[in-house]
């Protein structure tokens, strides 16, 4: 039997808009990612990585710099020279999001936004948007998950994206966030190039794995609607590349529907069958029949029943409920 999680009644009234984000955070905190949630870690960039990544933009000093000593003192019966410690700088990137451009497999240039974490070598969450918008749909949530004091006060029509709606941030979570815009979707998607969007999703997760300051072996992907399928499809694809430096640890699908030409249950099954298995959460609103059946088609995934809200994707809670 699939592991079904019902959260509709948890708060005693209709589902709060931010609740699914809490689930996402729960995914991140649940052990899918090793080392995620431990606060400041002793992450050290290799010299090669430092050389490659540090010049992306200026870094700020770590608040508690911990020089790494690569030589170890050993007791010895005979006096010896004290070894000189080698200090490797630990870059902490400024919190302000940075524009990233990258290319899909077919050469299409794509625009992304990187929200660095407050620790080096951080896990990274890739957020993929739905067809009604672009990566800006995730702006509020990305800043909240990044948890470095950035908050956007734009008056969004969708109240659930307002910072005031977000719950208290888990104290131990440190994670970077990466968003990008599918081709042809600036301000909302035009046309339906599903095959190309699949390439974009793969390119997006690859770009995230190679960002400076992130640990490519600790990637999560989440998305809504076309982005939901993109997250799962890209996660599986990445793990099938045989790249030991890049690994997707889990995905969160909000209203998937096999929208990117890959059967959701096939991709999801592959993801859950990874060794070690990745985590997969799938959320649906009950009136979104396609998402209901899609989510329920995969045994072993955490299926989240969002209740009787009528909408799809990132509009799943636009009912005007207060925070």
């Amino acid at each position: 039997m699939r592991n079904r999680m019902r959260i509709e009644q948890i708060t005693g009234f209709e589902m709060k808009s931010y609740s699914w984000i809490l689930i996402l955070v729960g995914l991140m905190m649940s052990g899918a990612i090793s080392g995620c949630g431990g606060g400041q870690r002793e992450g050290v960039l290799t010299a090669k990585e430092t050389a490659e990544k540090a010049d992306i933009w200026e870094t700020e000093p770590s608040p508690t710099p911990e020089p790494t000593i690569t030589a170890v003192l050993q007791s010895s019966p005979t006096p010896s020279l004290t070894p000189t410690p080698t200090i490797t700088p630990v870059p902490i990137y400024p919190p302000e999001p940075r524009e990233i451009t990258f290319q899909a497999e077919d050469g299409q240039e794509l625009a992304g936004m990187y929200f660095p974490a407050g620790i080096p070598d951080a896990p990274v969450l890739v957020l993929m948007h739905w067809s009604r918008g672009d990566q800006a749909e995730w702006e509020q949530i990305a800043a909240w998950i990044q948890n470095r004091g950035l908050a956007y006060e734009q008056d969004f029509n969708k109240t659930w994206k307002m910072p005031a709606w977000f719950p208290d941030y888990p104290p131990d979570l440190e994670i970077a966030v990466f968003t990008f815009t599918f081709r042809g979707c600036e301000g909302g998607c035009r046309g339906y190039p599903a095959g190309e969007w699949l390439l974009d999703a793969r390119a997006g997760i690859t770009a995230a794995a190679n960002l400076p300051g992130v640990d490519g072996q600790q990637i999560l992907a989440a998305g809504a609607s076309i982005g939901a399928d993109g997250a799962v499809d890209a996660c599986v694809w990445l793990n099938n590349q045989g790249d030991e430096e890049a690994r997707c640890r889990g995905a969160f699908a909000l209203s998937p529907g096999s929208f990117l030409t890959v059967p959701y249950e096939q991709a999801a099954g592959d993801l859950l069958g990874d060794d070690p298995p990745a985590k997969l959460y799938c959320l649906y609103a009950r009136r979104d029949d396609a998402a209901v059946e899609t989510c329920q088609s995969v045994p072993g995934a955490e299926v989240i029943d969002y209740g009787y809200v009528a909408e799809h994707g990132m509009q799943s809670d636009s009912t005007g409920i207060g925070p």
Binding site: G188, R190, G195, L198, T261, V262, D289, A291, E311
Partner: protein, 311 residues
């Protein structure tokens, strides 16, 4: 007019299908790496529009009958439209004391309520088998859309803008129901526009279907609507009868965008190969038996030499 409408129909059918398709866990398409991740071999899809006014598919006749040949590798889509009055052998209906009928009746005898056909797909299944028995066509998938769902989709996309080039008359009315000109139709109005049968109407039903389908196409892929396609899928899922998986439908929709009208060829059964027999005037028979089987064999092989339908 008709040819243009039929080309648009290709897109519209794919869109409506995508908006309304039931999810079938079996037979999910595996991406092959070809265009839109479609299969390596061409697929043949039977597309039927029924005259049913309710949401079900338990009975009714096939109003329009088409087969789509979709070649993902060759980046080609070909559409063959069949006259619904074609006289054919209908298999598996011996219990009804008949072996032949109009092609559109194959759907009727296969519907669940009729109970003759035991294969998969009910009316669509028997229609596919009928096409196979008579013409050797091998159908891979089927799609059935009824008028009710068609109307609901029109409402869901906010209505359609229609220009009717001639007045529309309704029986029992001396004046036109609609003058020539532009209108915004909701689903109900579109249904009525499609169905007026008065002989004074210059545009026959097929012409008006083409006008409506073109309007639906324009509205669905308008900037105001196109980004809603995934969420509309959830609203209508399960109300179309099909054996296709959503992933396969997304492949078809993706393909339709890729090939566009230039990559799509529309064919009709040539009327000069048919005749009306003396015994029943409203049916079509082959002048030379076997002609259509040969023609459709080439259609299935992708070697059809016919000239496309004229604009």
């Amino acid at each position: 007019m008709r040819a243009r409408g039929n080309r648009i129909l290709l897109i519209v059918v794919l869109v409506i299908l995508f908006l309304t398709a039931d999810v079938s866990p079996a037979g999910a398409a595996s991406p092959s790496g070809g265009i839109c991740n479609g299969p390596d071999e061409p697929i043949m899809v039977l597309v039927l529009g029924t005259d049913q006014q309710n949401r079900g598919y338990m009975y009714g006749l096939a109003d329009s009958i088409m087969v789509f040949r979709v070649d993902f590798q060759g980046e080609r889509v070909e559409v063959m439209s069949f006259p619904r009055d074609l006289w054919v052998e209908i298999p598996d209906v011996e219990e009804a004391d008949r072996t032949h009928g109009k092609l559109n009746q194959a759907y009727f005898f296969g519907t669940k309520d009729m109970g003759y056909f035991e294969g998969e797909g009910y009316g669509a299944g028997l229609m596919a088998e009928t096409l196979n028995v008579n013409y050797g066509l091998d159908i891979d998938h089927y799609i059935v859309i009824n008028m009710r769902i068609f109307a609901e989709v029109i409402d869901a996309i906010g209505g359609i803008k229609v220009y009717s080039p001639s007045p529309i008359y309704s029986q029992h009315q001396t004046k036109p129901i609609l003058k020539a000109g532009g209108y915004v139709f909701g689903g109900k109005e579109a249904q009525l526009y499609a169905r007026y049968r008065d002989p004074r109407n210059v545009l026959d039903r097929t012409d008006r279907h083409a006008i409506l389908l073109e309007a639906v196409w324009e509205q669905i892929f308008s900037p105001q609507t196109v980004f809603r396609i995934p969420e509309l899928v959830g609203s209508f899922k399960g109300n179309v009868l099909t054996d296709m998986h959503l992933a396969q439908i997304s492949q078809l929709l993706c393909m339709s965008f890729r090939v566009g009208e230039d990559g799509t060829t529309y064919y009709t059964i040539p009327r000069d190969e048919l005749y009306h027999p003396d015994w029943v005037g409203s049916v079509w028979l082959e002048k030379e038996p076997g002609t259509l089987a040969e023609l459709l064999g080439k259609f299935q092989d992708g070697t059809l030499p016919l000239e496309p339908a004229q604009e």
